[in-house]
């Protein structure tokens, strides 16, 4: 039993902290926001540090680490609300490494490690958004699979080279395809996302060659989608952990220094208590996220663990960013003050891939039908 990070993990976490806090200052975030929304300087730094290949196999120049280490890096990203497609690129490329053909691995992964390929994730669906029930339809053709239909709100779609998309055949079997976003038949329509990250809806009317069908040619589509989904969820939890800490840090500084009624806010009725509750919830996100990431890294069944972490990341993360925003009073409403970005990110992550009720429903089904 050891809940502490290993020395190696601590190094990764410190390295990520150094890069994100060094590069993604408030000023830089504003600069990127007013540009195209992709901090390429930071992206190159992450590539140089090897963090874009953190969980990829050594044969493709990766560091061969796993979900715990990725969670530690995403946590640092969340702390600085840095605008880079680390979550989707990492999860998408890990899925390719895990399930993809030799061809697709060799063509995609080394360029991911170098920072040249960016992967988007199209898991969410129009309608009631059951990730395991994709809204894009897949039809087998000679030498490939034809995809038709749309995916909403894909972050960084307009800057990505590829998108990992889930689709469903008429017989309900599932296909995971890596689609070249420059291919004809792929239509990208930028939309505004609440957290201001570059985001687009994508329409597919394209045939993907068999080499780029990452999973689903041999009946393993559902298992692979579940794998990607669980890894994506834990990635979101890790981001939310960082966002919560970032929000709480700004809020703590505020309530310590802001004086009303001739004493600091933190000494006013209820403020300290509310702040403390946010700290407790953040710790819940932390330990459950680490546990889920660890179980996944070890190859254990982590279905329930992921849902437990997601419960805290959605319900808890949501209430943390609302409380932090609230405790800023009017100042928080001014968008030249940084706390609102944490609010927007926190809200976004709470709805991305399903809200708290949805995670609790799934968890309830698992535990009550044992």
């Amino acid at each position: 039993m050891n809940f502490d990070l290993s020395d190696e993990q601590q190094v990764i976490s410190d390295l990520a902290a150094q890069i994100f806090s060094g590069q993604s200052t408030v000023e830089r975030v504003i600069e990127v926001e007013s540009g195209d929304g992709f901090d390429r300087t930071l992206w190159n730094e992450l590539a140089k540090a090897g963090l874009l290949g953190l969980c990829l196999p050594e044969e493709h120049s990766g560091l061969n680490m796993n979900m715990v280490e990725l969670a530690l890096v995403l946590e640092q990203q969340g702390k600085t609300v840095a605008s880079v497609p680390l979550w989707s690129t990492s999860i998408g490329s890990m899925a390719v490494a895990e399930y993809g053909s030799k061809d697709v691995r060799s063509s995609l992964l080394p360029a991911v490690v170098e920072g040249k390929n960016v992967v988007a994730l199209a898991l969410a669906n129009y309608g009631a958004n059951d990730v395991m029930n994709p809204s894009v339809t897949a039809t087998d053709t000679d030498g490939g699979v034809k995809l038709s239909g749309g995916k909403p709100a894909v972050s960084f779609a307009q800057h990505a080279s590829h998108v990992l998309v889930s689709a469903k055949r008429a017989d309900d079997s599932i296909v995971l395809a890596l689609v070249d976003l420059k291919a004809p038949g792929v239509t990208i329509t930028p939309v505004e996302a609440s957290n201001r990250q570059p985001t687009a809806n994508i329409e597919f009317d394209v045939t993907v060659p068999a080499t780029h069908i990452v999973a689903g040619l041999e009946g393993n589509g559902r298992e692979a989608l579940r794998w990607v989904h669980e890894h994506a969820l834990v990635g979101l939890c890790a981001l939310q952990l960082g966002i919560s800490q970032g929000a709480i840090g700004i809020m703590s500084d505020h309530v310590k220094t802001r004086t009303q009624f001739n004493k600091p806010l933190s000494a006013q009725q209820a403020v300290a208590v509310r702040a403390a509750d946010q700290f407790v919830t953040t710790e819940a996100i932390r330990v459950t996220t680490l546990n889920a990431a660890w179980r996944m890294s070890e190859g254990f069944d982590a279905r329930q663990d992921v849902l437990v972490a997601m419960y805290w990341a959605t319900e808890g993360g949501h209430s943390i960013v609302i409380a932090c925003q609230h405790l800023h009073g009017g100042i928080g409403a001014d968008i030249s003050y940084p706390v609102h970005r944490y609010f927007l990110w926190g809200i976004q992550i709470s709805t991305e891939l399903g809200g708290a009720s949805q995670h609790l429903s799934r968890l309830g089904k698992l535990i009550a039908s044992r």
Binding site: T257, T259, G330, S357
Partner: protein, 403 residues
């Protein structure tokens, strides 16, 4: 008089009259709640136009006495009118401060001259008013205002900075709290002015919010000259006047018509195929229960306003319940919205409407005093808890540490 929760026959007749008139003069409300958030300027023009229509037809200031240009009706009639008006595509927000806060304050504390000069043009929509109260270091602790006003002949000269001035960029006049006696305890050295927003030395800078619009402004005052005739409530007597204004504001925020309704949320759930989900249904039911509760709390306030002077903690109860209701409902709305909840702009469709309201919740939580300020007042007035021991109530304002 017996209890009657709903319209009496006379009230029903009045409501029918109002509805008939409105249906002739306004379009029915659109599904997205009149999505005026995006273009404040257009909104302000529409508000002025509508206020002029109301005024010309005798519907402006329904509960205001006739001597001030009002209709001389009851508070209840005004509430009925507002309820019906909310069902139409009408724009009214620009005059919220004028009619909801400045009007009642001037009627209570203004000089006859001030009442005569300002009230009719407020009603006609000719003058838009804003509130210059909060400062960077005077938020919840409003009595800490530091904007200085120094006597100079028949005028005062004012220097300082104000924040969170709603619709300030469109205002013709403002109500302004200043410090005129720094050596008095903080509540006792404040003077309340009427200020012409076109006076030299006033600069209004819009503050863009998360929703992307600049509802609020910072206002900088540099050597602004205000005649003594514009003092409301006497020199150093501004705190009592400010309290009248704030009480009106809380009632407005607690009881104002919303840009959304639970019915619309149920429709939204139905469109998203979630209206049969038992968990979603339970949440919709909670939102519905809260909305109904606000209705009855509102009825009680109206009854009180009709029968007596303003009640004790009821208004604060309403404001807190309203802030909770808003925030809970938006949480449910975002859950229902799902992936759509993350998209803004036209692509988002109905979800955009809810997202706007989610982001807008902080104005409700913070306007008219934070939830915490309301809770403390309820503790005092509802439960008789002693006022939190204050270290600064009786000391000279000048001697207090400034945050």
């Amino acid at each position: 008089m017996s209890m009657h929760i709903g319209d009496s026959p006379e009230e029903a007749a009045f409501r029918a009259e109002v509805r008939a008139w409105l249906s002739q003069h306004a379009a029915p409300r659109s599904d997205d709640g009149g999505n005026w958030h995006d273009d404040l300027h257009a909104h302000s023009i529409a508000c002025k136009k509508w206020q002029r229509v109301l005024f010309n037809n005798g519907w402006a200031g329904i509960s205001w006495p006739k001597q001030f240009g009002g209709r001389g009706g009851s508070h209840l009639q005004e509430s009925i009118f507002n309820e019906e008006q909310a069902k139409f595509e009408t724009h009214t927000g620009l005059f919220a401060v004028s009619l909801g806060m400045v009007g009642p304050t001037l009627m209570a504390h203004g000089t006859p001259e001030q009442q005569e000069v300002f009230l009719p043009k407020m009603l006609s929509g000719e003058h838009v008013w804003c509130q210059l109260f909060s400062e960077p270091n005077a938020g919840s602790d409003l009595a800490n205002v530091a904007t200085r006003a120094i006597e100079d002949g028949d005028d005062f000269i004012v220097n300082g900075q104000k924040v969170w001035t709603s619709m300030g960029q469109f205002a013709d006049y403002g109500i302004l709290l200043t410090r005129t006696e720094p050596d008095a305890p903080k509540h006792k050295g404040i003077t309340y002015f009427i200020v012409d927003m076109k006076t030299p030395g006033i600069e209004v800078r819009p503050l863009v919010q998360m929703t992307g619009v600049a509802h609020f402004n910072e206002v900088f005052l540099t050597d602004v000259r205000i005649p003594k005739a514009n003092i409301v409530g006497g020199l150093h007597g501004g705190w009592a006047v400010a309290n009248t204004t704030l009480t009106s504001e809380r009632g407005f925020i607690g009881g104002g018509s919303s840009s959304w309704s639970v019915d619309e949320l149920i429709d939204f759930a139905r469109e998203r195929g979630l209206d049969k989900d038992p968990v979603v249904r339970g949440k919709l039911a909670e939102c519905y229960a809260r909305a109904q509760t606000l209705t009855y709390l509102g009825y009680r306030l109206r009854t009180a306003a009709s029968n007596r002077t303003m009640p004790g903690p009821e208004m604060f109860v309403m404001k807190l319940a309203y802030a909770q209701h808003w925030s809970r409902t938006m949480d449910v709305a975002m859950e229902i919205a799902g992936a759509h909840g993350m998209i803004s702009g036209d692509a988002a469709g109905d979800a955009m409407h809810w997202q706007h309201n989610l982001l807008g919740q902080f104005a409700i939580r913070l306007g008219g005093g934070t939830n915490e300020v309301q809770q403390n007042i309820i503790g005092e007035r509802g439960l008789g808890l002693p006022r939190e021991p204050s270290v600064d109530r009786d000391q000279p304002w000048r001697s207090l540490a400034k945050g």
